[in-house]
Amino acid sequence: MDIRKKLRDGLLIFDGAMGTMLQNSGLKLGELPEILNITSPETIVGIHSKYIDAGADVIITNTFGANEIKMSSSSYSVENIIESAVRNAKKAAMGKDVGIALDIGPIGELMEPMGTLSFETAYEIFKRQVIQGVKSGVDVILIETMTDLYEVKAAVLAAKENSNLPVFCTMSYEENGRTFTGCNIVSMVMVLQGLGVDALGVNCSLGPKELEPLIYEILNISKLPVMVQPNAGIPTIVNGRTTYNISPSDFAEYSSRFAERGVRILGGCCGTTDKHIEALVKAVDNRKPANWQHINLSGVCTPTRTVVIDGVKIIGERINPTGKKRFQEALRKQDIDFVLREAIGQVDAGADILDVNVGLPDIDEVKIMTKVIKEVQSIMDVPLQIDSTDPKVIESGLRIYNGKAIVNSVNGEDRILESILPIVKKYGAAVVGLTLDERGIPETAIERFSIAEKIVRRAIEFGIAREDIYIDCLTLTAAAQQKEVRETLKTISLVKERLDVKTVLGVSNVSFGLPNRELINNTFLAAAIYAGLDLPIINPMNEAMMETIRASRVLWNEDKGGVDYIKSFENNKTELIVPDKKTESEDLFKIINNGIKEEAKAATIKLLSQKEPLQIVNEYIIPALDLVGERYEKGYIFLPQLIRAAETVNSSFEIIKERLSAEACADISKGKIILATVKGDIHDIGKNIVKVLLENYNYEVLDLGRDIPKEIIIEEALKNDVKLIGLSALMTTTVKSMEDIIFALKETNKDFRVMVGGAVLNEEYAKMIKADYYAKDAKDAVSIARIVLG
């Protein structure tokens, strides 16, 4: 069946539940329904036939959980199951004009960062299903009942890269309009539209009544045909059985209403039977498909946060090593925590989107870009702008990015447009186009405009929507090219008027070489917003720039009633930690002892004006640490107080390190230590506490993270010439991984020392797995480091 043609011409009716029908025929709880494709094919064929008789256009194979993870507990392969399932469907459909959909449900394990399954592994799992589905001859791939947008992305890429079949995709929502993992409707639509599926929508979890508002929200913004497969109401458990209470006629009534509003693909999920489908078919019989009105949203997102560009939105510029020694050093040492602090600071200051640039000549930009994106996305939901000129970096970044990103940037050069635009299209990103080409930046507005026009034309030719093209009219330096500054503003106006696309602009270059740069920047920013700038790229920590933007939002009637503007003047910033009492002498020693992290920076800066960095370490920090440690060991303070003192020390060190790196002084590091939570384990709070304390004593910690396989630990240990390796495990089951790693480390015949720690370990157990040291707590880990590294 040509599903795409059928979808153009009319409504498509899918079948109802498989699981419900199987349970009615005696499936036990916990049994794998997919196995019945092989052990009881006649049951499956029977169910398909009932749905076909009821009038379904498309039947869904009994392969919801036919992935290698769920099938691993059975004696059948993914290929076996899918082949049999498709055969059963074909048998039922024989001689009839009925399409067959390959059903793909969630893997069942959660992906990073929530769980442990990597994007690449998820992709491979789905790929196996897709390849067999194509081989067995299905007509359409149905990815359904998804709750994690990242998993959806892996599945859609697997489907599109390994088949030419239509791909339909539905996710499952709760009544609050979020999936279990927090994904909202707008983000789902943005991402699926971008990835180029053929239809999108919702299924399962709720009945038609509860889904109704969500369906209309989708119709309002979706360019693609919308698919709906509700449950037969909300499940309730009666006498130990799950039951649903929407009757076939009610179900049909809702479905018919959805069709009137523009839903193109209808069917049922849990609790629906052939009776529901039969009623549905009757209710929409011979109905012409209705058109639906939708708006073209311009915006970017992560699963839980959508940034719609309907006014000025701020792109934070600080994740960028250009001209920042400390940042460069952090990237070279893969000190991702440093980068993360830049991200957090900008979002706290009001950035809507963050630019991510990790371009340094001597680093592996692909590796660092993907790492930074993953790490930022594991703790925050701010959308990102991937800033690189290298197509490989852009593609790797876009592939693992969770949501819809911006690519920064292309320009008017054909070579660049042709290499980058297809990537932007494939991953459904937005793109920034710079108004320059091989001849450089044109002097006049009209010349820059004509480059913009070319970029927009080419992007549209590549299938990128107009609302996803952002033009950067380029800021020039007033001190050097004074008369061209105005040309930038004129270009913005032209682009807005004639091309109807969004504009983006890095602002602060304009003031380079002039005194009171802030004044120039602000004046220019206000003028650019007046000319039509949507997305200023700025340092959001600069309060004056933020004020200008807040004021503009009022003047442009975006901040209705000036609510946000007024709120920004209310002093409602509550400090997380209120100092007990202001430390009188602002003495760093006391500040550390009292654990007042917020005051450590200022006190250190002050001290640095009088003393050498090393003097501060020896005269203030080390004695304070020793005292705190002693108080902890004697039971005067408990763990949170110890850690707070340790963090106070680290804030002070951040200032000292900045000074040292600015003066290109020798490192104060006492040696490198690797820390990792072993494969299979993701408990890492204990390991992170050890890290904080080790850093206090100036050990340079290479934190590999959690769930780390032995190969990576060995590779990093060899590469970085590390002597001490700390391993953490919290479960009896993962101590085995620890033992394997220790064995492999010893096999290298290098002089590695291994310390282990974690709730399930003790001295005896540590000896048994041949660890050199057992660290009972974080303080103990420091003592061990002193023995090994001095």
Partner: protein, 225 residues
């Protein structure tokens, strides 16, 4: 003791508190974190009653494929002929926020983690109370909760346990390849139903998976479970 005070006592216990002086900062951090966890929690649960078929060897449940191997669960259920399988989760937002604080303040992360642990235990207590109130036989009560990984009941049954409750679909709870529950602040447990007058055996330290390492036991105390 009022509810908040009880939770705070629990939080302090998880943080290894043994009567040290607590400064005002730490107090306010803990109080704030208890509230923050309340706001972040998206408590969801599912449970189902099962008839117990056989407690001689492996515990088997009627109409289910789930096997509960080991002596300890058999002992736990020896006086029950019905039990409840329960799964409770606080949701992903708690996990994400704790990960966030691990980058900004380990002190806060540590305290939040303890507060979340206290919150999930509290949720389990409340839900068990509710289930108990719903028991048809007024004379029936619930035993304590017994989770995969306790005693000799293998942690590896976690996935089958979740499949039996269809927990991924109904409350978004799943397990990693190494059987760690995700979202992290979640509990699965088997609870027996017994007659009120039956003696309920208190779970002993010896059957606990943390037996060797427990700092409370080493100090001659009990964790209270």
């Amino acid at each position: 003791m009022d509810k908040n005070q009880y939770i705070k006592t629990e939080v302090l216990r998880y943080l290894g508190y043994k009567n040290q002086d607590i400064d005002d900062n730490t107090h306010s951090l803990i109080d704030g974190s208890i509230e923050e966890i309340k706001d972040l929690s998206e408590e969801r649960y599912t449970y189902r009653f099962f008839d117990i078929l056989d407690t001689a060897e492996n515990v088997q449940l009627k109409d289910s494929n789930l096997k509960l191997p080991g002596h300890d669960i058999a002992k736990h259920l020896e006086k029950s002929n019905k039990c409840v399988l329960l799964a409770v989760s606080l949701g992903h937002r708690v996990d994400t926020r704790i990960r966030y604080y691990e980058k900004t303040s380990m002190t806060k992360a540590l305290i939040m983690d303890a507060c979340a642990t206290a919150a999930i235990e509290d949720a389990c207590d409340r839900i068990c109370k509710k289930i108990e109130n719903e028991l048809v036989e007024g004379n029936d009560i619930l035993t304590s909760r017994f989770s995969p990984g306790y005693g000799d009941l293998p942690l590896e049954i976690q996935k089958d346990f979740l499949t039996t409750l269809d927990a991924k679909k109904s409350i978004g709870l799943s397990a990693s390849a190494s059987s760690i529950l995700i979202p992290r602040k979640s509990v699965t447990a088997i609870v027996g139903i017994v007659k009120k007058d039956e003696q309920i055996e208190k779970r002993s330290c010896e059957s606990c998976s943390k037996y060797l390492d427990c700092s409370y036991r080493k100090g001659g105390l009990s964790c209270g479970h």
